[in-house]
Symmetry: C2
Subunit: 114 residues, 2 copies
């Protein structure tokens, strides 16, 4: 199963933003950013529930927008955050978004010390 990923130069910020403008997908990126090797089910489990077919839909959005890379390996699909490409095209964007997401979560939990 060969997936079509956009080249670095084909990534558009509009697509990246709308891809990440969704709670589930933003969480996925946060999980991938946290490190470790991930396949579809590992992320799916980390995030709680959600049907496989639903996630396949989100993988496609994230893949098409250039946020993640999906690498078939055996019977799994390894999921990789395309940090280098994103940092090259949009310096500081990913970090700002990830910090922002963490800050939002802290604020929603009512934390006083972020």
């Amino acid at each position: 199963m060969a997936f079509r990923h956009p080249d670095r130069d084909q990534i558009r910020i509009e697509d990246v933003l709308s891809a990440l403008g969704n709670g589930v997908r933003l969480s996925v990126v946060r999980v991938l950013d946290a490190g470790g090797e991930h396949n579809c089910t590992s992320v799916l489990n980390t995030l709680g529930i959600t049907a496989k077919s639903t996630m396949t839909h989100h993988w496609r959005v994230l893949r098409d927008s250039g946020v993640i890379r999906q690498q078939p390996s055996g019977r799994e699909n390894l999921l990789l955050l395309r940090r280098e490409d994103l940092d090259a095209r949009y310096p500081g964007l990913l970090d700002a978004i990830l910090s922002g997401a963490r800050a939002d979560e802290a604020l929603e939990r009512g934390d006083r010390s972020p």
Copy 2:
């Protein structure tokens, strides 16, 4: 006409990203960031066409997500980018997005020197 704007602490990055994950709205923010006083029609004219009612829809999305402030003044609505609030909540985000949008545009025009 009193608009309901979210407080700084009510802004959520997910909403900001999905608001800006749209070409028209991203352009609006770029126009507002460029400076100068703007009302609805001035932005509408800068952007080319588009019906008034369509823009009213986009204003609402931008307003609800906390990206812009809409300030009634006489028979106009002044439009303001909430840069201070966004910078406070998400340092570097707005600049990264705006630079990214400019870079995308340059790349699409085929510029060699951004």
